[in-house]
Symmetry: none
Subunit: 191 residues, 4 copies
DNA sequence: GCGTAAACGAGACGGTACGTCGGGTCTTTAA
DNA sequence: TTAAAGACCCGACGTACCGTCTCGTTTACGC
C-alpha cells in the first residue's frame, strides 16, 4: 500500500523548532514582545512555513502547551472526595507551575485581544480542564459526600478562579500548600 | 494668591474626548484592535497630545476606569459580617458589570503583555481593591465572626479569583445572584 | 547553470513607479513639498519598499536623473577645440533643459541640507560631469589650441558655474544660444 | 515729539539673540537640521516671538546676512575697468568667504524648496548684488574699455556663476587668488 | 499712578511626515 | 508539495517640528 501523498513531507524538525523557539522567546521577553518574525528567525524557519501550519501566535502557544501538558484530562476516582480533590488539585497546580504559567498567561491575554480565539479557548481549553472536576464532584454527590444543595458551578468558579488569579496577580506562589489550602476550602463548601 | 503656572493650560475637553473615544472603540472592536491613532482620530485630538499625558493604551484605559468607577474604596462597617460582605460584593460586582467588564479585560490582557504595567497594576489597582475586604474581615475576626485559623488571604484569592474568572471565561453573568452566592460561600468558609 | 539567488526578486515595476512618481510630484509641487509618503502613495508602493532601496528623497532623484540623463559621459573628439566645445555644451544644456532642471535644483538644495549627500554628490555627480570637459581641453592644449598658461580648472568653474547659476536664478533660459555664447567666451579665454 | 505707539516695544535683545542663535546652529549642524524650535530654545525666546517678526527660517537667515554683510551695494568707480573689477570681486569674495558661505548656501537651498521665496530672492538679493557689476561695466563701455559687442549679461552669469559654483561644489577655496583669476578672465572677455 | 496695549516667556494644541517594525502574502530556487 | 529566502503592500508605532493658541507677566505710553 503505502500511498503517502506526493511531494515533500512536512518537516517534524521544523515543527519542534517553532514550538521550542516560541516558548523560549516568551520566557525571555514575555508574550507581549513575541513576534512571528522572531520565532521564524530563532527556529531557522521561514515565515511561510509558520503560516502554513498555524494561524497565529496564540495557536503556536496553544500547540506548545498541549505538547508539554501532561494528562489532567482524566479525573481521579479513589472513592473518597477528599483524596480525589487533593490529587486533582495537586496535579493541576503542578501542571501550571512547571514552566507553563507564562504560556497560560499568554493565552489569557489573547482571550481579551481576539474574540474569535476567546470563544474557542473557552469552550475548548477552559471547559475541558473543568470537566474532570465536575465529574469528580458529581460522583461524590451520588455517594452523599456533597450536599445536594451545593452549586457545583460556583465551586468550579471559586477553584479555577483562584488558580488563574494567582497567575494574574502573581502575589503568591502556585505550590502544594496552596493546592491543599484550596482542597480544604472546597471540602468545607461542598459539605 | 493662586498664581497658576504660565503657558496654555491642559485641555480638559481633550482629556475627556480621549477617554470617551477609547471606551467606545473598545466596545466596538475590542481592546486587541485598539490603536492610539484611532483614538486620536475619534477624539479629534493629535497623537502628541495623547503621548503627552498617557504612556500608552493601558494607561488610558486605567484612567477611564478610575473615572467611571464609583467608590469601592471604603469598606462597609455595619457590625455584621454577613451584611458587610453582601454590600461589598454587590457593590464590587455592580461596578464590574456596568460597562467596565471590557475595560477590566483589557487591563487583564495588558498585564500579560507588559511586565512593567503588570507590576504597577498588581500593587496599585488589584491591591487597592483587595484592601477593603481585608479590613472588613479583620474587624469581623475581632468580633469573633471569623475563626482565627482562617487564612484571610486565601479567602481573598477565592473571592477575587471567582470575579476575574467570570470576566475571563464569560460563561455566566456577573449579577446579584452571583454576588449573593459568593457571600454565602465566603460566610461558610470564614466561620 | 544560471542559479539566481532564492527569494522573490526585486520588482522592476515598483522601481520605475517610484522614480516616475517622484519626478511627477516634483513637477507638480516642487522638491520642497515632496514627501516619501506621497511618493509611496502615488507609486502604489509601500514606504518600506522605498526605504529598502533608497536612502532618502535625494537618492531617488539622483536615480531618476541617471535614468533619464543621456550620455554626457564621453567627450567629443573631432580634432577641433571649437567643435568639441560646442558639441559638449549643446549636449550638456540639452540634458539639463529637458525636464531635468527641476531635478538638478532639487539635488542642489539637498547639497546644502545634507553634508553627507553633499560630499558624495560633489565627488560623484559633479566631478563626473566635469571630467569630459577637462579631457577635451587637455587634448586641445596638446594640439596648441589652448595657451599653456590657461588655468583649466578656472575655465571649468566659469562654465559650470554659469550653467548652475541659470538654474538657480532662472533669469534667462537654458537654450542653444546660451550654449553658443558660452562656447565663444570659452574659446576666447582658452586662446 | 516722540509719540511712539503704545504697548511694550520690540525687544532688540531678543532680535539679536534669534539671529545669533540661527547662525550658530547653522554652523554647528547645517541648515538642513535647523529648526525654529531649536532657535527659540538657544536664543531663550518663545516661538511666538519668532513668528511675530519673521516668516520662517529663510527669512531669519536673510536678516542675519543683511546684518553681517558689509556694503557690496555700491560699485567702485576709479576710472579703470581693471581696478574697478578687481576691487569689486575682492570685496564680493571677502564678503562671501567670511562666515557667510554657509548662510548663502542655506538661501540657495531655500530657493529650490520654496518657490515664493525663490522669486523674491532672485529679484531682490541676487539682482541687487548684480547691479553694481552692471553699472561698472556700462561705465567702462562708455570709456571704450569694453567692446560694444560684448554681452554684459553673459559676463554676469559667468562671474556670479563661478562664485556660487564654488560655494556649491566646495572643491576649491574662495580666496583672493580666485578673485584675481576671475578678474583676469573677465578683462579678457570684455575686451 | 493707573489703565490700556503690545510684546514677552511658557507651553499645550491639532497636524503632517518621519523612519521603523511587524503583519500576512507572494514569488522565486532548491530539496 | 514543502521548505528557506526574501521582496511586497499595508497599518501602526512613537517622535520631531510645524504654525497656532492661550495663559500669566512685563514694559511701555497716554490719560
Amino acid at each position: 500500500m503505502s500511498t503517502r501523498s506526493p511531494g515533500r513531507p512536512r518537516s517534524e524538525q521544523a515543527r519542534q523548532a517553532v514550538l521550542a523557539a516560541a516558548v523560549r522567546l516568551i520566557e525571555e521577553d514575555g508574550y507581549g514582545s513575541l513576534t512571528i518574525e522572531a520565532i521564524a528567525l530563532r527556529a531557522g524557519v521561514s515565515k511561510q512555513t509558520i503560516y502554513r501550519w498555524w494561524s497565529g501566535k496564540a495557536d503556536i502557544v496553544l500547540d506548545a502547551l498541549e505538547e508539554s501538558s501532561s494528562q489532567t484530562a482524566t479525573a481521579p476516582d479513589s472513592g473518597s472526595l477528599e483524596s480525589d480533590l487533593r490529587v486533582f488539585l495537586r496535579r493541576a497546580i503542578a501542571d501550571m507551575a512547571a514552566g507553563n504559567a507564562e504560556l497560560l498567561g499568554a493565552l489569557l491575554a489573547e482571550t481579551q485581544l481576539d474574540s474569535g480565539f476567546a470563544a474557542s479557548f473557552r469552550t475548548g481549553f477552559l471547559a475541558r480542564r473543568r470537566l474532570p472536576l465536575r465529574e469528580l464532584l458529581i460522583r461524590a454527590r451520588e455517594r452523599g459526600e456533597v450536599a445536594s444543595a451545593t452549586d457545583i458551578e460556583v465551586l468550579g468558579d471559586l477553584l479555577f478562579g483562584a488558580l488563574w488569579y494567582r497567575i494574574l496577580s502573581a502575589h503568591a506562589p502556585l505550590d502544594r500548600d496552596f493546592a491543599d489550602g484550596l482542597t480544604d476550602a472546597l471540602l468545607r463548601l461542598a459539605g
